[in-house]
Each structure stands twice: as C-alpha cells, then as structure tokens.
Symmetry: D2
Subunit: 130 residues, 4 copies
C-alpha cells in the first residue's frame, strides 16, 4: 500500500545521501501567513530546498497537489522534460492562486515521484482576515 | 465532438455579453519573451483579462494546460471553490515554472470550463538564448 | 494534513449511518488473482459494495487512482454528473487495463471525495505467472 | 498551437507506416448504441484497432478523455509502464462506467501521446431510452 512519506528536518539527518533523498522529494509551501478574505493569493510549492531532483523520462516529479485540510484545492501535473529533460535536474515548482475560505486555512502539499512515490509536507497555517 | 473555442479580439466584438463570454473563458499567457536556456522561468496563465468567471460547483474552470507546440508541459486542475466558491467570481490562475528547451518555444494554453467546454489561446513565441 | 481514510470491515460496525459512510467512500478492487506475464488484464475499481454515493456538483467522487506498491499505474478523474448528476446516487467505477510486471503485484486504490477526502483500500495481491 | 489530429479511415491510406501511425494514435470507442436512462453503462476506449503503440518512458499514451458533446465525463491518465514498459508495445485501454443523461449522447474520446500530441475520434451516437 503506498506509503505517505513525510518530511523530516534534514538537519537531524547524518548521511548526505539521505538528506538529499528527503529534501529533493519534499514539497515546500511558500505563501503569506496572513491573507485577506475574498482576495486571491499565491501559494508556491517547490520540490526541494537545497537539493534538486532528476527530470528523466523514467524518474521525475509527476504531480503536486494542494490541500486545505481534507479538501483538494488544485493539482499540477508535469510532463517529464518540463525541467529540461533527460540528464537535467531541478526543482519542480508551481504557483497556485487561490481565494481563502474560512478563518484559518491549513495547507498541505502532496507530491508524487515516479520512482519514489508519495510525499507530503507539514501543514502550513494561514490566517484569513476580514 | 468537442469544439476547440479560440480567442477572438473582444475589441472587435459588439455585444457586451459576448465580450464577457469570450474574455472570461480565454486563457491568457504572461511570460518573458526571451528566456535563458537551462534556466527555469515563470509562465502564468490567467482566465480572462477584463471579466471574471463563476466559481460555482456546477460551473467553474476545471483545468488549464500548457503546451509547447504539440507537447504538454504541465496541467493544473482546480476544484470548484478554489476561487471562493458558490456565488463568487474570479479569474482562475496558475503559474508554471518550466525550463526552456530548443531555440524557440511556442506556448499555448488550453482550458476547460465545466459548462462551456474547451478554450485555447493564440500561441505565444518565446525566444531561448544560450 | 489530509487523513488517508482506510476501509474498515463494515460487518464490525454497528451504526447503519457509519456502515454507509465507510462503504460508499471505499474503493473496492476486482481483478483476477493470477495473471499472465505480458498479457493485459482488467482491474475494476468500484466505490462502495452495498451503498451508493451522491453525484452532486458539490459532493461527488472526483478520482480513483491505482497503485502497484508505491507506483502509480493509472488514475481516473470524473466530472460531477457522470453518474446522473444532482440528486442521483451511484457507485463511481472504472476499469483499468494494465500489463503485469514483476512476479507479484500489490494493487491499491486511492479515491477522493470532494467532501470527505482521501480513501484507500486494503492491498490486493496478484500473482504473475510466466 | 497543438493540432487536434483526427482519425482517418486507414483503408483509404496507402503507406503501411502511415496506417500504423494513424491507427495506433487513434482512440476507438466501444459501447452499446442504445442504453437505458439512469442505468450505468460501460464505455471502453482503446488506442488502436490493428496496431500497437510503444510504452516507453519518453513515448507513451498519457491520457484518454471521454466527452459527451462539449462536456467532459471522465479522464484516465496512465503512467509509462502500465502496458509493460520500455521496449513493449500495446493498446492503452480504459473502461469508464457512466450514467446516461438526455435522450441522445454524442461521445468523443481525446487522447494524448507524449510524442505525437492530441488525437480525437469521430463522435459516437448513443440513444438513451426511458
């Protein structure tokens, strides 16, 4: 059954290869911590902070989904090659533009690597102001 | 057979309702006209320039795809509600971050409205410099 | 962070409403237990065994994904209305046709309900014969 | 701008390579010509009738979508490898199970090959009986 891999703070990890493995497979969310009700805001999700991932036809980041709590907001699917293709490495990235609902959003990103399965970030809290 | 609706310059259109209909269903691409080979760049696709589209559960913009010539680079799928939900209107928007290939990219966006089908923008030329 | 809901044998559940809730949100896999290497076979995934799910625009089964261990094989995405639309109920269903790889497949289905999130079935073992 | 390739009766085509090219990229719909209102029925879409398509990581059938007139009913996305993987060939295939609406459905399938773009079949008429 597919494991949901979760981010581990790589400063607590010893082995360089493991730091790289965890970081390049983890989606990181960047967005404002406070947003205005009814106003579209940007949520960028980028794979990896310090490391890069292959963009090979048989090994690439296929998708990034954005959830607010249990609810899917949007999903991006990439073709192999969108980061330069075979032999190239990069950080898959998408910016979703969404309108906040409720008083507090809890954003999570899930991603899928065609070789190393499903990964999920820690939830990010976003306060919604009237 | 699903029609591929194409953008028509709305300044040539008389009826206000038709301007609105065409504009709010058309994907518009925003990106640099010249990019550097091997360097990730941002391609924003936004639905509508002057008008907004409903975000109702039974009538919303479900997806935006980005092509380079015949090749799909990435696709974003939205849930109804990502722009505020029932009764709200907005411009669905996504920013893809891709690495250029070749010497010239020809970007096109296709979108799908759950009531009014498939729409496509005019191709946008992007020069790729070494 | 989105919970991955897992099937619970509903014969062990007392409350009728809970049986219904669990069953109608759970993907069930139907396929041969032994297949031939290199020969395409059918894997049907159906939501619910004894109960049905709404197909309302704001509450429907949006997707069913099929995994072999950690690897995504295929995904089906449905539009609200594919099961009759507002006021109707049914069991979302898709049959994927895939070619087995390896000696043993471990199939899992994940599904997404627009109101009740992600659900996953127990893995199904499929022996692959030469 | 991505071309929508349409099926051409290959018995009218001379060159064997062109017959193969057209056939293996064309989605073919199989379903009953008359269905009962409110009753789920099966719609199989298979790529190619007489020829097979590669399932290589950089060249495979990525998706098959099913439309009723202008409306998307369902979409299947495949991973490279679902038909056996590198060096293998096959006919990507999915069976959607949908509930008819209206008195007459006009089904069309669109597919996407990662090397040869978008293809569409001729519409198939399905009568819906009370």
């Amino acid at each position: 059954m597919p494991k949901i891999n979760r981010y581990v703070d790589i400063s607590t990890v010893d082995r360089e290869a493991k730091k790289d493995y965890i970081d390049r497979h983890s989606p990181f969310i960047e967005c404002a911590s406070t947003v205005k009700a009814g106003e579209k805001f940007a949520v960028t999700v980028r794979m990896g902070k310090e490391y890069t991932h292959p963009d090979d036809p048989d090994h690439y980041i296929r998708s990034i989904s954005l959830f607010n709590k249990e609810t899917l907001l949007a999903e991006a699917t990439f073709a192999a090659g969108a980061l330069g293709g075979a032999g190239q490495k990069g950080q898959a990235e998408v910016t979703f533009h969404v309108v906040p609902t409720g008083k507090q959003m809890e954003l999570t990103a899930m991603s899928y690597c065609t070789k190393h399965g499903i990964w999920e970030c820690d939830p990010v809290q976003v306060a919604v102001e009237e």
